[in-house]
């Protein structure tokens, strides 16, 4: 695996840099297609060697954002900086990037070795040097045996390795990945995800990974960026986004949240009381507190709701169990709230279900497990 040593290896330690260099910076990127706004003011800072996941439903603008970084799309407005260098108007071939496409986009008329050599040939390196590097990289991705094959004869997993080898051989500053494992068999995905995570850590190349699959985003990303309707809804660590969803969209998009919507009744200390169709609840207010009478949304995670209610659980409601789903480590109970909405409650452990469908149960959760969302809900 020496073929893909960290980028910094071999570079003499220089004077401490005053400002840590960013691998990527997006400044208020905007892109419209006719009347359709694909990207609406996206700003992002990626420090050196980060694994970034752009997460969102299809059509949210995550792929367009990626293509703006690659230079395959011209943003209407805003700036793209790669390694601190402004490249907004530079063509793709002058950017220090490589890209992996969902269906891998291998060159069908070239052998695997020729595919992998392409990036180095573009750098006009001497032939002997290219051959040597290609052999190294093919070996490190364990595809040496495929060197003389054409992409048409490879399996999905083999193609994925070839595409990765082709992208990584020039050791770019950024690797852009557009749903890179979406075309693989489900059984392969977990293995490939782990390999890619390890590769990213070993090489220190920043990965910008576009996906609609939150499992991918949360298990891989150092930084997860949730997008919706051409905008960034929230960016942070996976823990941030799971535990503190910033908006009603993030809370409902991420699995396992129960979202409530209501009117602010009063402020009490650091908390607000919000009246919803399912009852009145106490919600901690960490940021600017909302106006009394304003509409607000909040959420509580399914695993934080208890069916053994005590004085620790001031937020309470009675709900009717409609179904129980079993996921191995987790048992998910589906309830119907008084207002007809669905309420999800997760219990861990393999013990038999205490609640059966058909029962009405008093449920409760703690004030500090309740998360108030920012912004005026749409």
């Amino acid at each position: 695996m020496d073929a893909l040593a960290p980028r910094t290896a071999g570079v003499a330690p220089s004077l401490p840099v005053a400002k840590p260099q960013l691998d990527l910076e997006l400044r208020d990127i905007r892109k419209k297609y006719g009347d359709f706004t694909a990207v609406d003011g996206v700003s992002l800072k990626v420090p050196k060697g980060q694994f970034v996941c752009l997460l969102g439903p299809s059509g949210c603008g995550k792929t367009t954002t990626l293509r703006c970084i690659a230079g395959l799309e011209d943003p209407d407005d805003g700036g793209v900086l790669i390694g601190g260098k402004e490249v907004t108007r530079d063509p793709p071939w002058q950017r220090d990037i490589a890209m992996m496409f969902q269906d891998f986009a291998l060159f069908p008329h070239m052998t695997v070795a020729k595919n992998v050599a392409f990036g180095l040939e573009m750098l006009k390196q001497p032939k002997a040097r290219i051959a040597e590097r290609v052999a190294q990289v093919l070996a490190s991705f364990e595809i040496s045996a495929l060197a003389d094959r054409k992409p048409g004869s490879l399996s999905g997993g083999q193609r994925q390795r070839v595409a990765l080898a082709r992208a990584m051989i020039t050791e770019p500053r950024l690797l852009l990945l557009d749903e890179p494992i979406g075309a693989l068999d489900y059984s392969l995905r977990e293995t490939v995800m782990l390999e890619l995570k390890l590769l990213q850590q070993r090489t220190g190349i920043s990965f910008i990974w576009v996906t609609h699959d939150q499992n991918e985003a949360f298990s891989l990303g150092d930084l997860v960026v949730v997008m919706n309707h051409a905008r960034i809804e929230q960016q942070g660590t996976p823990e941030d986004i799971l535990q503190r969803p910033a908006t009603a969209f993030v809370a409902s998009f991420i699995q396992g949240n129960n979202v409530f919507r209501g009117t602010v009744l009063e402020r009490a200390g650091g908390n607000v009381r919000i009246e919803t169709a399912a009852g009145v609840f106490i919600v901690p207010c960490l940021g600017a507190s909302p106006e009394i009478g304003a509409t607000a949304t909040f959420s509580v995670r399914a695993e934080n709701i208890s069916d053994t209610v005590s004085e620790r659980h001031p937020n309470r409601l009675t709900a009717h169990c409609t179904a129980v789903e079993y996921f191995g480590a987790v048992r998910r109970h589906i309830f119907e709230r008084a207002d007809g909405e669905v309420l999800k409650v997760d219990h861990f452990g393999a013990q038999a279900a205490r609640i059966a469908p058909g029962q009405s149960v008093l449920l409760g959760w703690q004030v500090e497990d309740t998360v108030l969302h920012q912004g005026i809900p749409g």
């Binding site: 395959l72 063509p91 071939w93 990037i97 496409f101 986009a105 060159f107 392409f118 048409g152």
Partner: protein
């Protein structure tokens, strides 16, 4: 019991297969019959005429063709037509690849461009040729096979090449080009290393259209060629003067040469397909 077979869907589909197969063969025979007739008559005996009976079978007319002055009459037009067809083929390839590439990018007025290109196919050739000749006279341009005829023929062959290339690009995955761009290839390098090899079968097809449509074009050449005639014009003139089975021998010979050319191109294409097709591990 007797018609039980007809109730069996496998039997019925076999029957349909045979029916459609027979129809196809009959159609092919119908299509080739005129050429076969001429081919047959080219082997007529020395006293044979241009119609049946053949009065014996001989290679007499091919011998005549070989030594006779007729061939000398036809040699210059043959050379001209071949050069003209080759020039049309190259021009058609270059322009049709460029215009089909432009259509991929969807520019303002691209649907107008599309219909204007197709006008070359739809406009009646005799009128295009005549109108072009009048225009050239008005502009005081001298008519010649290698200037005016070339221009008017390209306007005829180009739309065929254009449609061929549109069909090729329609199935083309532009992400392989994007992959090349992100790997450091400029647009020109991407075209040379990635796009061109992948569209090569279509390029050859467009070239074949350009060559064969130009080679036997009559109506557009009729008024635009000037004193030095192309092959179809020379053949037509010969038909006006005297008709012997020699003319059939010429037709048969050129058809055989065309067939050989097409076979060579097809086998070249087939070899290229093979080199990019999936291989068994």
């Amino acid at each position: 019991m007797k018609f039980a077979l007809l109730g069996d869907w496998k039997f019925r589909s076999a029957l349909t297969g045979w029916g459609l197969g027979t129809l196809t063969v009959v159609f092919l025979v119908y299509q080739w019959m005129p050429i076969l007739t001429l081919g047959l008559l080219s082997f007529a005996g020395p006293t044979g005429g241009t119609t049946f009976p053949m009065n014996g079978v001989s290679l007499h007319w091919y011998e005549e063709l070989w030594k006779a002055t007729v061939m000398n009459d036809f040699k210059p037009p043959l050379v001209r037509s071949s050069l003209l067809a080759a020039a049309c083929a190259i021009t058609t390839v270059v322009l049709s690849v460029m215009s089909a590439q432009a259509m991929r990018g969807k520019f303002r007025g691209n649907d107008w461009f599309f219909y204007l290109m197709l006008l070359g196919i739809m406009a009646p050739g005799i009128l295009v040729g005549f109108g072009f000749a009048i225009l050239m006279r008005l502009l005081d341009v001298e008519l010649a096979w290698n200037t005016t005829t070339f221009l008017v023929q390209v306007s005829w062959t180009l739309p065929f090449g254009f449609l061929t290339m549109l069909a090729v690009f329609n199935r083309f995955d532009s992400r392989v080009e994007e992959a090349a761009l992100t790997l450091g290839a400029s647009r020109l390098t991407t075209f040379r290393r990635i796009t061109l090899p992948l569209i090569m079968p279509g390029v050859i097809g467009a070239g074949l259209f350009g060559f064969s449509l130009s080679y036997d074009e009559y109506p557009r050449s009729m008024f635009t060629t000037g004193p030095d005639q192309t092959l179809p014009l020379a053949v037509m003139a010969q038909l006006d003067r005297q008709l012997t089975p020699e003319i059939y021998a010429i037709g048969t010979t050129t058809t055989v040469f065309s067939l050989i050319a097409v076979l060579l191109c097809t086998s070249a294409l087939w070899a290229m397909r093979r080199s990019t097709a999936p291989r068994k591990a």
